[in-house]
Amino acid sequence: MTFAMAIGTEYYLALSALLFTIGAGGLLVRRNPLIMFMCIELMLNAANLAFVSFGKEMNDLGGQISVLFVLVVAAAEVVIGLAIVVAVMRRRPKASIDEVSVLRG
């Protein structure tokens, strides 16, 4: 605990911002759906890290509770998203994410 205290909240926030930026950047430049998924997970977890840090800083349990919600949502999103990706990949093994635009209504 003392070790964690010594590091200070701003470092965690900086790490969170860095992870988020990496995730966002990756999402924008990569075309492989799986990689894009990983980028989204990265962003979500960056947000989680920020939640926990702020929760600790402000002595508010709400931050930690929010994380649980985010985790559940992320899990659900992965289930649906991966199912779609697998279905697309089966038909077109070499598909890039841009080709999924045919799914547009």
Binding site: A24, L27, L28, R31, M36, I97, D98, V100, S101, V102, L103, R104, G105
Partner: protein
């Protein structure tokens, strides 16, 4: 047993549902019997509630039951509830009783009609709506029933809609009623705006105890309610639809356009008596003046009609005028009393007329009747009781109730009494004319061959040219039994409210809890009342004798009395339709133009705008996920930038 109230309208609703689902399969006559059974069940449950209520003290006789919350919406909360009190149960008793008899009659009358079961679907729906109107514990339920009976009336007037005349009569009734409904709705809005509730008990307690309505508001509400009542109860100038409504089958005329639906305006005003008491005096004056005018006006028109049902229709309008005179004078008991006796004798007269029409093979022109007494003894006998009742001959019921109404007019204004007495004499006159032309006098039809008594086409033998060849016959028992039952009621219903002492005024004592002391008591001495009654009897006798002088002894040419202008009901109907077809139409064309361009324009414009905007925005939905992601990231950056700028870096 008051908690059985919900059963009363449930029976006809059940009958309606069953007939809607299985009516065609049940066919004739089972569909009719099902409908009759349901209404009889409704009558029996009303009787149970009535007996339970009669066993209680007068304070405990008002009972409310809310089945469920119907419209919970902010401050407006309307429950589907029933109000069982002496007034509503009295109404429900005679409505279900008369309806049951008429349903039974209709089984015989509608024999052979291709839409037999459909007829009973409408009849049961009508009874349900009428009971909702009467039993509802708030104005919105009453309005639900009000619209329901209006719709059923429309369906039934144009029941034989293959004939365009019947269809347009139905439309006329519907449109005229809508004018009245407008008044009802505005009255409801005003009441909700000022009191915050539509429930009768809330309205009455806040009007009586809290003085919640100013005189101006109360007057406005009364006038609006009266417009509604005038539409439904066929008062001048909205009476136009009722004579045309005779296009419907005769049981419908008896049930809807004589006994029940047309009395709902009188019921509404009686129900709202605390509001009437708050309103300015001139609004009550307006009610009795319109009533008086209608009574006279319609009586003059009835004198010259040749269609047997038209005579009865104008007579109904006239008798409703009598009831409004009583309501406007504050003698609510007299109005309800006359409503009940009128329901009995007018239903009887209409059913009798139906029996005659049936026997004469759909001939409605009285000029082709005559001397039917011998061939239709039961119809004639019961009809004569109905005639004596409406003419005001003691001891039949109409005398007692009409006497009360005349007393109301006397109490209000002596001239009004004279005019109403004239209307009463004319009632006796035109009803006697009807009876003499139909059942007595010369035979103006020719008998056909004995073996042809089926309803076949008969070619007239040359010696009988110009006369209808008919085989008039007495109606089947299914039709004459209701006649006999109604004749019994029409003869004896006077005992409900005998004026001899306070103790014999059962109806007055019974209705006391719902009138909140607003009933006006006539301050005339007993000898005056006797004198007035004797004058009324003499007047009725003059009417009957006058008619026999003209139509039996033929001392006067009837053409001198049946003026064409009376036949045309003072050309009022014609002028209204001419105006509406001519200059009136121009006004409504302008209104239609406004409706189409401005109101529809605004509504459609909003729709078009949204559509155009949508088409433009669709272009941004490319389906490219990375574009979306970029948009989101840019958005996140924009929000971040906004917060950063707020921090003042």
């Amino acid at each position: 047993m008051n908690n059985l109230v919900w059963l009363i309208p449930t029976f006809p609703l059940l009958g309606f549902t069953l007939l809607l689902l299985f009516g065609r399969r049940l066919g004739e006559p089972n569909a009719g019997w099902l409908a009759t059974t349901m209404v009889t069940g409704s009558f029996l449950s009303t009787l149970c509630v009535f007996l339970g209520m009669a066993g209680k003290t007068s304070e405990e006789r008002v009972y409310e039951i809310t089945l469920f919350e119907w419209i919970p919406s902010g401050e407006l909360s309307v429950g589907l509830g029933f109000l069982a009190d002496p007034l509503s149960i009295t109404m429900a008793l005679f409505i279900t009783g008369v309806s049951a008899l008429i349903h039974m009659y209709a089984i015989g009358y509608m024999h052979g009609d291709p839409n037999f079961s459909k007829f009973f679907i409408y009849l049961n729906l009508f009874v349900f709506s009428m009971l909702m109107l009467v039993l509802g514990d708030n104005l919105l339920i009453t309005f639900l029933g009000w619209e329901g009976v209006g719709a059923c009336s429309y369906f039934l007037i144009s029941f034989w809609h293959e004939d365009p005349a019947n269809a347009s009569a139905g439309k006329k009734a519907f449109v005229t009623n809508r004018v009245g409904d407008w008044g009802f709705m505005v009255a409801m809005f005003l009441l909700f705006f000022n009191i915050g509730s539509l429930k009768y008990s809330d309205i009455f307690s806040s009007v009586i105890q809290l003085d919640a309505l100013t005189q101006t508001t109360a007057t406005a509400i009364v006038i609006m309610l009266f417009i509604g009542a005038a539409g439904k109860s066929a008062q001048f100038p909205l009476y136009l639809w009722l004579p045309d409504a005779m296009a419907g089958p005769t049981p419908v005329s008896a049930l809807i356009h004589a006994a029940t639906m047309v009395t709902s305006g009188v019921y509404l005003l009686t129900r709202m008596n605390p509001v009437l008491a708050e309103a300015a005096g001139w609004s009550s004056d307006l009610i009795w003046i319109i009533g008086l005018f209608t009574a006279l006006f319609a009586a003059t028109a009835a004198v010259a009609q040749n269609d047997i049902k038209k005579v009865l229709a104008y007579s109904t309008v006239s008798q409703l005028g009598f009831m409004f005179v009583a309501v406007g004078s504050g003698l609510y008991v007299a109005a309800i009393f006359h409503m009940i006796t009128h329901a009995f004798f007018k239903a009887l007269l209409f059913l009798g007329a139906g029996s005659v029409i049936h026997g004469m093979h759909e001939e409605q022109d009285m000029r082709k009747y005559g001397a039917l007494k011998k061939v239709m003894p039961i119809t004639a006998g019961t009809f004569i009781i109905g005639w004596l009742a409406i003419a005001g001959i003691p001891p039949f019921s109409g005398f007692w109730s009409k006497d009360e109404v005349l007393l109301a007019a006397w109490n209000e204004n002596k001239i009004a009494w004279v005019l109403l007495l004239i209307a009463a004499i004319m009632t006796a006159f035109y009803m006697s004319r009807l009876v003499f032309m139909t059942f007595f006098g010369d035979k103006r039809w020719a008998e056909g061959e004995e073996e042809n008594h089926e309803e076949d086409e008969i070619t007239p033998p040359p010696e009988n040219e110009g006369k209808n060849i008919l085989n008039p016959h007495e109606s089947p028992a299914l039709m004459w039994f209701p006649l006999v039952a109604l004749a019994g009621l029409a003869a004896t219903a006077g005992i409900l409210n005998l004026p001899f002492s306070h103790n014999t005024k059962y109806l007055e004592k019974w209705l006391e809890p719902v009138l909140f002391g607003n009933e006006v008591h006539v301050l005339a001495s007993t000898s005056t009342k006797w004198l007035l009654a004797v004058i009324a009897i003499v007047g009725a006798t003059i009417g009957v004798l006058g008619a026999s002088y003209v139509y039996l002894k033929k001392r006067v040419n009837p053409a001198q009395i049946e003026l064409p202008i009376l036949q045309d009901a003072w050309k009022f109907d014609r002028s209204v339709s001419n105006f509406m077809g001519g200059p009136g139409r121009k006004i409504f064309e302008v209104v239609t133009w406004f409706d189409k361009t401005v109101i529809d324009g605004a509504v459609n414009g909003v729709g078009k705008l949204t559509q155009n905007l949508g088409t433009r925005l669709r272009a941004t939905q490319t389906g490219l996920i990375r574009t979306y992601a970029l948009g989101m990231v840019l958005g996140a950056i924009a929000i971040l930038a906004y917060f950063v700028s707020r921090m003042g870096f």
